[in-house]
């Protein structure tokens, strides 16, 4: 993407391979080429720890012969290697089984103006390495200047530029460029045997939208220090406040359960729930790949289906599963433009915010737990069961009284969606799967 010559090359390469596959017997073929540049610097205790800079390219392909599918990918872009992979794939496809649902999507008329999506910051390329290093150093320095902070995991600044080219045998050929930049800081507070840790970050497509070193550092300090001197609590059922990053985690799990793949594979507790109530009327969830400038935005998905805005849950009623072409055919639905590699992925997947400020949600609690972090696994999409290690802040009479740790929370996503009592007004798309603060009427907290 740095030289205009290369652009031509990659588009040509993709088209050439489509033709090559067709001539060698493929019925359908899809070629994806990614061309990326990355820069990242990690600093710790004021010094550079790692500095990485690289260009890299990769190519992915899918061929279908007699409704049988094979995939291949390579980071070696020599034409000889790629043609060999194409031939191998056509041969290998014969060993798969006939699958009536396989095949490329039909060609959609393109109506999306890629430049209006604000995916590419032309100024990012002009940012010098020294400036990037200085930003990371500055962020860490502000973090370490707080007396409560006793050690640092370091600060990082990262930029990426990626060009994606997609071509298929139905005549689709398009490309787009995108940029990304991220600033992050990880800290520890307390002495060796009573350490607490946390961090914070900002990530954007445009450098000028990135939060400042000061904002990132202050937030990292606050998030770390608030966990100092935790207590254990007794096992009990209490109201739980999910901070926005925790809502985001919960929504990630919801996404896994509404993905068309998990529905047709019957690995989701939301199988056969389309049109039915799965939550209360405070729950409206949307997937939107077209919001300008956001991290989950893209003009089309990995199969070339245009991105769209999909209402997933409308005031508690499950309206749509999110599908790629294959899952849609299996479920007799339409693709929602959520193809991601060979599977299904979210674009900007979010819970519609309410009107209550988060402080009000907390002050309304007589007793409860603010969930601030979870660790571990413990999500089961087949049943909706959730069980995780957790860190939180204990609330009594509307006030935060002390931090708690060494607890677990457990519940079921189906129950939680029906027990959402309040939705905050603080949605920010820090990550593509995002939500505001929410209050859940009751979950089990296990402690002493």
């Amino acid at each position: 993407m740095r030289e205009s010559e290369k652009q031509l090359e990659l588009k040509e390469l993709a088209e050439k391979l489509v033709t090559f596959a067709k001539t060698n017997g493929a019925d359908e073929v899809e070629i994806t080429v990614l061309d990326g540049y990355e820069f990242s610097v990690d600093v710790r205790l004021g010094e550079i720890e790692n500095l990485v800079e690289a260009d890299s390219r990769s190519l992915g392909l899918k061929v279908i012969k007699d409704k049988k599918t094979a995939y291949a990918s390579s980071s070696d872009l020599a034409l000889e290697t790629l043609e060999h992979l194409v031939k191998n794939s056509i041969e290998r496809a014969q060993l798969a089984n006939y699958d009536e649902f396989s095949g490329l999507p039909s060609l959609f008329p393109s109506q999306i103006d890629i430049s209006s999506l604000n995916l590419f910051d032309p100024q990012l390329a002009e940012l010098s390495a020294d400036r990037k290093i200085a930003l990371a150093k500055e962020t860490e320095k502000i973090g370490l200047s707080d007396k409560r902070i006793t050690n640092s995991h370091g600060a990082s600044f990262e930029t990426r530029e990626v060009k994606a080219v997609l071509a298929n045998s139905n005549g689709f050929i398009q490309e787009y460029d995108q940029t990304y930049c991220g600033l992050s800081l990880g800290l520890q507070a307390g002495e060796t045997d009573s350490r607490v840790e946390d961090g914070w970050f900002s990530a954007k497509r445009y450098f000028h939208q990135l939060e400042s070193s000061e904002e990132v550092a202050k937030k990292a300090v606050e998030r770390t220090a608030r966990q100092l001197n935790p207590r254990k609590i007794k096992s009990q059922n209490v109201p739980i406040v999910f901070e926005p990053m925790m809502t985001s985690w919960l929504l990630g799990f919801l996404f896994a359960c509404v993905s068309g793949t998990s529905i047709y594979q019957k690995t989701s507790f939301l199988v056969d729930k389309l049109g039915k109530r799965i939550g209360n009327d405070k729950v409206t969830v949307i997937d939107d790949g077209l919001i300008p400038g956001l991290l989950g935005t893209r003009p089309f998905d990995s199969e070339g289906v245009p991105s769209q805005k999909t209402l997933v849950v409308d005031k508690g009623i499950l309206k749509n599963y999110l599908c790629n072409t294959y899952a849609a055919r299996k479920l007799k639905l339409q693709s929602t433009g959520n193809a991601d590699g060979a599977g299904v992925g979210p674009s900007n997947f979010y819970l519609i915010p309410g009107e209550t400020p988060p402080e009000k949600i907390i002050s309304s609690l007589d007793k409860g737990l603010i969930l601030i972090r979870t660790i571990g696994h413990g999500l089961n999409p087949v049943t909706g069961d959730i069980s995780r290690g957790a860190f939180g802040l204990w609330v009594e009479k509307g006030e935060i009284v002390y931090p708690v740790s060494e607890i677990t929370i457990s519940g079921n996503l189906g129950d939680i969606l029906n027990k959402i009592e309040a939705v905050g007004n603080d949605l920010d798309f820090r990550v593509p799967v995002a939500g505001p603060t929410v209050l859940v009427q009751e979950m089990t907290v296990a402690g002493q």
């Binding site: 800079e53 690289a54 009990q236 677990t408």
Partner: protein, 476 residues
């Protein structure tokens, strides 16, 4: 076991010793204490089966090199998957830029090292066997699970196999190559009864050949294990909540040693003093019943390697000796800065990644107790059977997620339970280990460990263990 030769090394890089020597010199052109080049060629194959059909196959080729320069505590890194001289030089200059001395250095002249050991004595390397044979293995697993019980409703089987050819050269004159096979067959089974659905999971593999699936663990055994877990969970209740004695099943519970001990004894976290262990070398950190090793030299094991990803010959490393902290897992950078010797634990996911100290095969040494006796000693508690995984923080707080287990009542396993999270602080839990069984086993040979965004294959093992008390997260 029958005799076997190492997988022959094929040179895919077409870079002469002279050229590599020159690249190392470019990498050190701005000073720098050390430089190395990691060259990688990897072929990966995948077969997926679901809904009674072979749904897809995939082949993936990864080719590239990474160049690293170390100057004091700083690392500069450039990588490329375009092996043209111009691109490689560019990567070398990126790496070089981390150093800022006027004086350039020259690398020592390269000498090819010959390995006298082979930890992957495979007979039938998977990448050389026919796709038809692998497909029939997948189908056999699939239908064994599907037909195991009428309540088995859905099955997914995935077979993944790769061979990774690497060459590492460095400025100290080392030039060494390895060819690492890696195979994994996994099965997910979903059982259904009266509208209730539960999933069971199992798998097999390692740095093995296809003979593994007839000699060590068959498709039928993997299928049965997954199906049985799903059926078991159909009958399972929600776990209790609160502090109680916990008995960990052998094998799968190795995730405890991985999370609670292994990560925090990776040298980088101790050098940076972020690990709770950094000031505890030689001190008692666990029950004296506990001895823990990390051993990358176990033949055929998923976490093993002939050389680590910095070219070091690995050593079985003691981490905890009868409760005392006795060792750490080192890579070159941490060993140099801590003035320690290398243990051969510098690993990376691929050529685009900087090496980090990592685990390989981590396990708790067997103890003296009969496993039956351990269960009998518990009046009321929790038996953790199979695990989904775990996570730890440098502060020592860790969790692991139990997918299935039992209640222990009056010394017997009674009600099956599902989906529980155990949480604790490592030093408290390690001191609370009261009994160690004589039945050391390794867990599912399909595990992957993630650190700073890099995934590497690992395995872990442990005998039956009893923890006096631990917080079990369940329903109230």
């Amino acid at each position: 076991m029958k005799k076997s030769e190492p997988i022959p090394f094929e040179d895919h890089f077409e870079l002469s010793k002279n050229k590599l020597q020159k690249i190392l010199d470019i990498a050190l052109s701005r000073g720098g204490d050390f430089s190395d080049i990691f060259l990688e060629y990897r072929i990966y194959n995948l077969i997926n089966m679901e809904e009674d059909i072979i749904k897809e196959t995939a082949e993936s080729i990864s080719l590239g090199l990474g160049i690293r320069v170390i100057a004091d505590e700083k690392t500069g890194y450039g990588y490329t998957n375009d092996l043209s001289v111009e691109k490689i030089k560019k990567a070398a200059l990126v790496a070089a830029s981390i150093a800022s001395s006027e004086a350039s250095r020259n690398a020592s002249s390269l000498k090819q090292a010959q390995l006298s050991h082979n930890f992957y004595p495979v007979l039938e390397p998977a990448h050389q066997e026919s796709l038809e044979r692998k497909i029939s293995l997948v189908k056999n697993t699939y239908f064994s699970a599907k037909n195991f019980d009428s309540k088995i409703d859905k099955v997914k089987v995935s077979f993944q196999e790769q061979v990774q050819f690497i060459t590492i050269v460095n400025s100290e004159g080392l030039s060494v190559s390895d060819a690492r096979p890696l195979v994994k067959l996994v099965c997910l089974a979903i059982a259904k009864k009266e509208g209730k659905r539960e999933a069971g999971f199992s798998g097999g593999g390692g740095r093995v050949g296809l003979e593994y699936f007839s000699e060590e663990l068959t498709a039928e055994e993997i299928a049965k294990d997954a199906a049985q877990e799903a059926l078991h969970l159909l009958e399972a209740k929600a776990p209790p909540a609160g502090e109680m004695p916990v008995v960990l099943a052998p094998g799968h519970s190795g995730v405890l040693v991985h999370e609670a001990v292994g990560h925090l004894l990776e040298a980088d976290f101790n050098r940076k003093k972020t690990s709770i262990f950094w000031d505890k070398m030689g001190k008692k950190v666990a029950s004296s019943l506990l001895t823990i090793y990390d051993d990358p030299t176990i033949p055929l094991s998923r976490g093993s390697y002939n050389i680590d990803d910095e070219g070091t010959i690995p050593k079985k490393t003691i981490l905890i000796n009868k409760g005392k902290m006795s060792g750490m897992l080192q890579d070159r950078l941490s060993a140099k800065l801590m003035k320690s010797s290398l243990t051969g634990h510098g690993r990376r996911e691929d050529f685009s990644c900087i090496p980090l100290p990592r685990m390989s095969n981590t396990y708790i040494e067997r103890g003296d107790y009969d496993p039956e006796e351990i269960i009998k000693s518990v009046k009321k508690g929790f038996y953790a059977g199979k695990f989904q995984g775990g996570q730890v923080e440098d502060s020592g707080k860790f969790t692991f997620s139990v997918s299935s287990g039992y209640l222990i009542e009056n010394g017997k396993l009674t009600v099956p339970v599902k989906q529980a999270t155990l949480i604790g602080t490592n030093i408290d839990i390690l001191k609370n280990i009261e009994m160690v069984g004589s039945d050391l086993e390794f867990g599912l040979p399909t595990g992957t460990c993630s650190k700073e965004g890099q995934s590497v294959p690992v395995s872990d093992g442990c005998p039956t263990l009893k923890i006096v008390k631990m917080t079990v997260g369940g329903q109230k």
